[in-house]
Symmetry: C2
Subunit: 235 residues, 2 copies
DNA sequence: GTCCCCGCTACACAGCTGTGTAGTAATCTG
DNA sequence: CAGATTACTACACAGCTGTGTAGCGGGGAC
């Protein structure tokens, strides 16, 4: 199951079952869990729709299998990258990139669409991040919120890849596109965007928010003049 | 059939058309455009499903109307907040918060699900951000990528609000939850997470990525031993 | 050989989807 | 008042959805 020394590296991933799973991961990530249909997944894998059910039982079970596979695969990759120190291995990182990209895309999407498995993965990411921040002696009033927001923000880059591609003029799933987003990533994390004074001000404002001046939560500003309300024609 | 428990909001001074639109914005944001059905939207608005069509013509047109409304509304709010300088107005900000939250949630979701209108909004956000960064004299090799990633990351916090709520133990759509994510936000932007040396290293690694050592893009590491491939039973 | 399991396909079924149509009640216009 | 337009509902329809069932072909076990 884990770290099998010999014979584990079988190139027989041509298994129909694996092809279906891969197609499902791709389509789930591309369209979301709901809109991706079993028939389309079967078509993408080049099999009949009945076979999907034969192998996985149901759409929900197929999704669970995709979750389990993607999580296991990503954990392995992380292990290789960090524990085995292959982060500097350029050839390895290059060859790993498309896979990691696909898996991350799927996991993030699955997370957002409410998968229990992927959600627990998010939780552990937040915990790892929190420990990292603590080890870095980062001082924050709410380290968990810090880590959680950090994780959620990273997810955003995967979720918005269509829009990022549009804005950057290059498909972010290609190597060149990925390089640009990575560059942006490094920029974001390498320098502060607001001064300590601004941060203190904002923190104070956030604290004040806990006790609202009145019960204005019920009064909703949205009900005031809306431009598109009183159009009469519908087509 | 009204869902609102204790006269939460939206009294009857709202046009039926507006009630439908609000319900659509809520359900679209909650479930995504695809899975949110016209019948459910109608039920949430307390009308027949035919009336939704009568007022908006089609699901796509309904979505366009939601896009237009939400964008216009958000633009107004931003105008009030920034141009009219009501950012410091605590009562205003407090009353505006739930509305802005809902609209942002919808717009981000609509963006991710491929709305042209909302996508162009993302583009203008990126441009505003880029100009802001330029005005701040931020030095970056790729200011646009910087701004784009920044925007995408902010979207992530909205997209992952379910997971954030889980991890933080508080609904982030409430005032208390919003305060915690805001705190995390400030933390993220107020201090650098990586040193200039690390940043330089990473930038170098990213540059190297542009010219891969071999055509390993075709060779995919994902094809090596996968754990869940050879299970035979499916149910 | 025969048997039987397993990968796999074809087809049927109920439920839900967006959409279309017909008709009724309410409101406005003259 | 009548006449028309609008707000709104009920219902029908084709298409797609996930799921269920029956059956086919081939390869290993006996």
């Amino acid at each position: 199951m884990a770290l099998d020394p010999a014979g584990d590296r079988a190139p027989e991933d041509l298994t129909t079952r694996a092809r279906i799973r891969d197609a499902a991961i791709r389509l789930f990530a591309e369209r979301g869990i709901g809109p991706a249909t079993i028939r389309d997944i079967a078509k993408a894998a080049g099999v009949s729709s009945g076979l999907v059910r034969h192998h996985f039982g149901s759409k929900e079970a197929l999704r669970d299998a995709c979750d389990a596979y993607a999580m296991d695969r990503m954990n392995r990759l992380w292990e290789q990258m960090f524990a085995e120190g292959r982060l500097a291995d350029q050839a390895f990182m290059g060859s790993v990139h498309p896979t990691a990209m696909r898996l991350q895309n799927y996991l993030v999407r699955s997370m957002m669409d409410g998968s229990d498995a992927a959600s627990s993965m998010f939780e552990s990411m937040v915990e790892v991040g929190e420990q990292f921040l603590a080890a870095q002696k980062v001082e924050s009033a709410d380290l968990r919120a810090y880590s959680a927001v950090l994780c959620a923000m990273q997810m955003g880059v995967f979720l918005m890849h269509d829009q990022l591609s549009r804005v950057l003029g290059v498909d972010v799933r290609t190597r060149a596109g990925y390089a640009r987003t990575s560059s942006g990533f490094v920029d974001v994390f390498s320098r502060p965007l607001i001064t300590p004074e601004q941060a203190a001000q904002l923190h104070a404002a956030v604290d004040r928010m806990h006790v609202p001046p009145s019960d204005s939560d019920a009064q909703d500003v949205a009900t005031e003049g809306a431009v598109h309300d009183d159009r009469r024609d519908s087509r």
